[in-house]
């Protein structure tokens, strides 16, 4: 199978859907000729023209709102928000409008839109360009939330998100763009709401999302040498959340570490932990559920501080060992 970069796989997914359905179009800041701030839409402007790869003013509320309106009228917009941090500027349109239209209109409207953007720290972009908070959106009924960790998943999930009839928040960790992985040439879809066991193991379950999947797999690789067999489960979508796969894994291993990129307080890991503790997996727990997540601080600029703000491979190794004690 050919190996591709995450960013290229994502672009392939966008391109295939634009070819498949003429209602699909991209809008956002600098998505046209420039190809997007991170290069996700590179080349699409040339291929599909300015109508379908639409540069917008620096107006996040208008971008999100226009996506909602267009989606209400049968289009399938994919709105790019340059940094995930700027989702907050588009909050009303996303949360009060797009998320609620269907329900408050009595189940009549459809809002098939995707709003995507790069999140996460590790690039020295500091507090306003480094946040990860997909869990915020998972709190709002009506939204779906996706956070792919691999090139394979990002392509399959962007396609599923575009085809979904609901507003989908698509969170890409910016450090993942340069991660390589196998992506088949033939068409495929990764359904929303289906977790993936990224590595099978019997001693302990690590539930990790987005960039943390990569770090958890690296931790698992290192621990293998010490005879510790780690299972890594990637929820892939926060909403809908596939608790069954997580529960089954925990029932098998009896121990679980949850690793998030978001700040720890009220993060999605808390939801997963509560889901485990209140499920049939409870009687299989052999150690307290452990959470590793970002500190409750704005992301600092200094590279060493920045590194310590979110879990790294060594933190995950330590967390696993603590839980296996």
């Amino acid at each position: 199978m050919p190996e591709k970069l995450y960013i290229d796989a994502l672009r392939e997914g966008l391109r295939e859907e634009m070819l498949r359905d003429e209602n699909v179009f991209i809008l956002g800041e600098d998505v046209g000729l420039y190809g997007g701030a991170f290069g996700v839409t590179k080349g699409l402007f040339q291929e599909f023209g300015e109508d379908r790869v639409k540069d917008t003013p620096i107006s996040e509320a208008a971008i999100a709102g226009a996506a909602v309106g267009a989606a209400l009228c049968g289009m399938r917009p994919v709105a790019e928000i340059m940094f995930f941090d700027f989702f907050t500027i588009a909050m009303d349109q996303l949360v009060n409008q797009g998320a609620k239209n269907r329900y408050m209109f009595g189940g009549k409207a459809k809002v098939p839109m995707v709003i995507r953007g790069p999140m996460g720290c590790g690039t020295g972009a500091a507090a306003q360009h480094s946040q990860s908070f997909p869990a915020v959106f998972a709190h709002f009924p009506g939204l779906k939330v996706v956070m792919p960790s691999t090139p394979y998943d990002v392509k399959g999930l962007i396609k599923a998100s575009i085809r979904d009839d609901n507003p989908v928040v698509f969170a890409e960790h910016k450090l993942l763009y340069r991660v390589k992985g196998e992506v088949p040439d033939e068409e495929y879809i990764v359904p929303l709401g289906k977790a993936d066991v990224k590595r099978k193991g019997k001693d302990i379950t690590v539930v990790a999302g987005s960039i943390m999947v990569i770090r958890a797999l690296e931790a698992a690789k290192q621990l293998e040498k010490e005879g510790i067999d780690v299972e890594v489960v990637d929820p892939r979508t926060l909403k809908p959340l596939d608790m069954d796969t997580i529960i089954n894994s925990v029932k098998k291993t009896g121990r679980v570490v949850i690793v998030e990129d978001d700040p720890i307080s009220f993060g999605w890991g808390a939801e997963v932990a509560a889901g485990i503790a209140s499920s049939s997996a409870f009687d299989y727990l052999d150690a307290p559920i452990k959470r590793l997540a970002g500190l409750d601080i704005p992301i600092p600029y200094n590279p060493n501080l920045e590194k310590h703000a979110v879990p790294q491979v060594e933190d995950i190794i330590k967390g696993i060992k603590d839980t296996l004690r």
Partner: protein, 439 residues
């Protein structure tokens, strides 16, 4: 250091034990692992092995006494060691330590004291589940997890080691005589000792003749007395009787007898057939398989049929688990073994606990008809009488048929007359057409 030996908990239901015999006298040296006392629990007689080596310095309880679990019974210590005071002083010491902790001193000992204060065993949910499933007393399991937490692995190891735990002498004898240690039954946590493998000397002695025999109400007798009184006192019993034509059961037994003998090396009894038939009838009348818990009635999933076995000095009810899922041959083999173990006092707790319905048969004593007391927490018991040839009217003919009386005692809080009657009727139909059991 002096070791205060307390009454061990030798079964999950054990609350007190009777000191049958002190195997060590005061002043005698004693080795760790050596049996020093014989204790009767509610079900079995067991020897307790010394937790430490030393001299049996003080026996605190005389033979025949009934002692609650956890109460001091003896002190093992060095020959010249000053013995600790038992009772009040110890409590004071604990209080003194507790007050120190409260005032913030000696904080190092806090976790240990807190555990004692809380009186709870710290175990993971998984460990608790495995313990529950295997009837393991978690307080006996050694924790390996952080902060003294018992993990699933600890319980698994406990179960494993408990199965084949034996003193070195016992292991040697077992190897020499080709005895499989797994066939020796001990209470949870107990090691197999030499005494388990060779007949006990003490059993060969004869008691002195007396004009009037005084039997202390202890152990099994006491349990029977308490349970039967409690059952009659709390459960309003109703009794339902009917007569069953056993012609076809007799035919069936005769047909199956040689095959089961050949395959399972046991003799198929009417009780075996009754167990199977009752299990099938219960499946159709699940209310019979229940427990009354005050606010709720629990209908049990598993159909575990107990069979009352008379002993010289009491009775015990070994249980055939999931009888509805077992074949008659299998049941027969199991009851044969259970009865043998029951009579030799070798039943394991999980072989006499967890019953959901009981059958008691006094047919062999020529009893035609009787009413049994419910074996709580079950809700019904079936009393079986003798099979007797009787003239009965079939069609308009008087014919001679082998008839048997069945009397069901039901706890009316759970089972109404009609529900009990339906169960009995189902059972009668099955016994009169035993091939129905195959359906």
């Amino acid at each position: 250091m002096a070791t205060i030996v307390t009454m061990p908990k030798l079964g999950t239901t054990m609350e007190e034990g009777t000191i049958i015999k002190w195997l060590k006298k005061e002043g005698e040296p004693i080795q760790k692992g050596e049996p020093y006392v014989e204790i009767q629990t509610d079900k079995v007689n067991l020897e307790d092995e010394a937790p430490e080596s030393g001299i049996m310095r003080k026996i605190l309880v005389s033979e025949g006494a009934v002692v609650p679990v956890g109460k001091e019974i003896a002190i093992i210590a060095g020959a010249d060691e000053v013995l600790p005071e038992i009772g009040e002083e110890k409590t004071k010491e604990a209080e003194r330590q507790a007050s120190q902790i409260k005032s913030g001193e000696e904080t190092k000992e806090q976790p240990k004291e807190m555990e004692a204060f809380e009186g709870r065993v710290k175990a993971s949910p998984a460990a608790k589940r495995v313990a529950r499933e295997n009837d393991v007393d978690l307080s006996k399991v050694t924790p390996s997890g952080p902060d003294g937490r018992i993990t699933e692995k600890d319980v698994m190891e406990f179960i494993k080691s408990h199965k084949i735990k034996a003193t070195p002498v016992a292991m040697k004898i077992a190897v020499e005589q080709g005895i499989s240690l797994e066939t020796i039954q001990k209470a949870p946590g107990e090691r197999i000792t030499k005494q388990d493998l060779v007949p006990k000397e003490s059993e060969k002695t004869f008691p002195a003749a007396e004009t009037q025999k005084v039997i202390p109400v202890t152990g099994m007798r006491k349990i029977i007395a308490e349970r039967m009184t409690k059952s009659k006192g709390t459960a309003p019993h109703i009794y339902l009787t009917l007569e069953v034509d056993m012609t076809k059961v007799i035919e069936l037994r005769e047909k199956l007898l040689p095959a089961i003998q050949a395959r399972y090396s046991c003799k198929l009894s009417y009780n075996d057939i009754l167990i199977k038939a009752s299990a099938v009838a219960i499946k159709q009348n699940p209310i019979v398989n229940s427990s009354f818990l005050g606010d709720e009635i629990i209908i049990k999933q598993d159909i575990n049929i107990g069979l009352a076995v008379a002993l010289d000095d009491g009775l015990i009810v070994p249980v055939v688990r999931c009888a509805d899922k077992k074949g008659i041959g299998e049941i027969s083999k199991e009851t044969t073994q259970l009865i043998e173990k029951a009579r030799s006092g070798k039943l394991m707790p999980d072989e006499y606990q967890g019953g959901t319905f009981t059958i008691t048969n006094l047919g062999m004593y020529d009893i035609e008809n009787f009413k049994a007391i419910i074996n709580q927490p079950e809700s019904a018991i079936l009393a079986v009488g003798k099979i007797m040839k009787k003239p009965v009217v079939i069609g308009d003919q008087i014919v001679i048929r082998p008839m048997m009386n069945l009397t069901l005692s039901c706890d009316h809080r759970v089972i109404d007359g009609a529900q009990g009657a339906r169960f009995l009727q189902t059972l009668k139909q099955i016994l009169e057409e035993p091939l129905e059991m195959l359906m």
